[in-house]
């Protein structure tokens, strides 16, 4: 069974200038143990999609206008928020943030912050904490479970290759390097024993040698623990390194999806090919894409890439292209894909 399936999800935000349509009928699916890359430039809606899956969109402004988010067969958008909070969010689905520098609380040791998560989200907790009439904050953390949790933490810190885990837990976030903080974040995301980890640009803030180490770590842990990873990134190189499949988004629409080898060998959508041609290479012939990403309050009709696309014609402006299966799990949403299909 598909672990996570997003089907035709549309949502937007109410802004002062009007309603911004940030996701327009986006679909994707992930299996257990798979690393799916969600690739796109800034402002294409990949972080919004990740947040929609996690259910942490700002409640006042975000409005979901259609679609479903099926996790293990159940729709997260219509489920009871309290039960999602206790069984899904932070347990079955966890999150690795983009910026390991601001994601820790600077006034507590990292050990305190990790144990705080496990107090509520430990896989060893038999029942959700804070039940009954007492406010959740005053509930106890049973000592024997705390010991078991601590052992699990130390073991996992060793797995993510952090030196001297015990001393590490007594440190404050500012005493750690960026790579160490991101390793801790990955460890924290894995501690509740999730089925799906959403990693939002986990290596953007890191140096290239550290990036290679962290990406290798994510790939290894996903395979070993049979955890699905949704990796959002703007870096096609990072996607090439560890993903099994790649989804490309442009201005809130999904444009192409393919297994990783087919994706880089035979990209079909004009946007994908142009994105690949923009990567700097030794010959210095990288071309870039003229024009800019459109505003989302009044997005172009039809395929949102048409104003920057030299293949665009009438139908591209009028209606969004349907999903066109190219075989082998490769599909594209374009009337004029590369490769001479049509």
């Amino acid at each position: 069974m598909t672990l996570l399936a997003v089907e035709d999800l549309s949502l937007g935000f109410a802004t002062e200038a009007g309603f911004a349509s940030v996701l327009d009928r986006v679909s994707l699916s992930i299996e257990r143990g798979q690393v799916l890359g969600l690739v796109g430039e800034s402002g294409c809606g990949k972080t919004t999609l990740a947040r929609a899956i996690l259910g942490v969109l700002p409640r006042e402004t975000a409005r979901i206008t259609g679609g479903r988010v099926l996790f293990r067969g159940a729709d997260l958008l219509t489920a009871d928020p309290a039960s999602i909070n206790q069984t899904i969010r932070g347990r079955a689905i966890t999150f690795v943030p983009q910026d390991p520098f601001t994601s820790f609380n600077p006034v507590f040791t990292v050990g305190d912050q990790i144990m705080e998560i496990l107090k509520w989200k430990s896989p060893r907790a038999s029942e959700p904490a804070g039940h009954g009439w007492l406010p959740a904050v005053v509930s106890r953390y049973p000592a024997d479970r705390k010991r078991a949790d601590l052992d699990a933490v130390l073991e996992l810190l060793d797995t993510v290759q952090l030196p001297r885990p015990k001393q590490m837990l007594r440190k404050y976030p500012h005493e750690l390097s960026g790579g160490q903080r991101q390793r801790l974040m990955i460890a924290m995301a894995l501690l509740p024993g999730p089925d799906l980890v959403i990693a939002d640009e986990p290596t953007t803030a890191l140096d290239v040698t550290i990036q290679a180490q962290i990406l290798g770590l994510i790939r290894r842990l996903a395979t070993e623990r049979n955890v699905a990873v949704l990796l959002t990134t703007h870096d096609l190189g990072a996607a090439y390194e560890i993903c099994d499949a790649v989804n490309v988004m442009y201005a809130g629409q999904d444009v192409e999806s393919a297994p990783v080898d087919r994706f880089f060998a035979a990209p079909a959508h004009p946007y994908t090919t142009k994105l690949l041609a923009s990567l700097p290479d030794a010959s210095g012939t990288a071309s870039g894409i003229p024009g800019e990403v459109p505003g989302l309050i009044t997005p172009p009709g039809g395929c949102r890439f048409h104003p920057r696309c030299e293949r665009a014609d009438g139908p591209c402006r009028d209606a969004r292209p349907p999903v066109d299966q190219l075989g082998g799990g490769h599909w594209v949403r374009c009337y004029h894909p590369h490769g001479g299909i049509r």
Binding site: D207, T209, E241, I289
Partner: protein
Amino acid sequence: MTPLSVRDLKVHFAVRGPFNRRIGSIKAVDGVSFDLMPGEVFGLVGESGCGKSTLGKAIMGIHEPTAGEIWFEGQRIDALAPAARRAVRKSLQYAYQDPGASLDPRWKIGSSLHEPLLIHTDLDQAAREKRISSILEAVGLPDTHLDLYPHEISGGQQRRVGLARILTLAPKVVILDEPTSGLDVSVQATVLSLFRSLRETFDLTYVLISHDLAVIRTMCSRVAVMYLGRIVESGPTEAIFDRPRHPYTRSLVAAIPRIGGARVTRNFWLQGEPPDPGNLPSGCRFRTRCPKATDLCAREEPVLSTLAPGSVACHYPE
């Protein structure tokens, strides 16, 4: 004549304890020398914290050098009086890492572009406007942008405004500090080709500071690799990328993802992270992470010595 040359430059920052007592120092730049050739693009590459931005800022006089000499067009500039230094700044310019943060949010783009001309020249309003509109055309921005505020334009356009600000003064050497950080790849490619064409039009020499090896490779003719305040290897770009001699350079080059090539994450060999710059290891600074390190590396710091076609600071170069 070399437009810019740096001799054994050191920038150390004091680490202070209680009562402002000096308890140590961070050697951000520790004995760096290089000469710039006229018209070239010289790359400074290294990971965060290796001192590459500090080096750039020390050349500009933003950080006071602890020791060493900086020569600009035959004139020693690190010990100049402030007024004389100001005159040098006109032809030696620095493009900041975050152009959005270096533009005044309450000034229109037009005012920001007039400011350098007001400070460094005595042109009148009409002459300034003429100069600005010709520069705007060169960097590919419409005249209508003069009446916009920085937040109203995109990151790539802010970068162009930052460049226009610098180019109005017709500098000779421009230090570009991480010129593509925060830009999407499609925008990055257009900004890089703009840098190339401006270099030809205005006869510029660039020092390009970046941690992005792909950018360095497409832009630079010569590269110096920095690690913890020192240049560990330098040479022509092709030589550095095709046959890196220093183990650190080898690991950096190996860490670049190559689309269509082998996955580097499968067997990436470099472990650990750079040590604390306030507490450097003895001998070679890279030895704590180096697979080839021996007793000699712990005892003696290797010096940058010529190994054709470049130079390398390692006891056991490849």
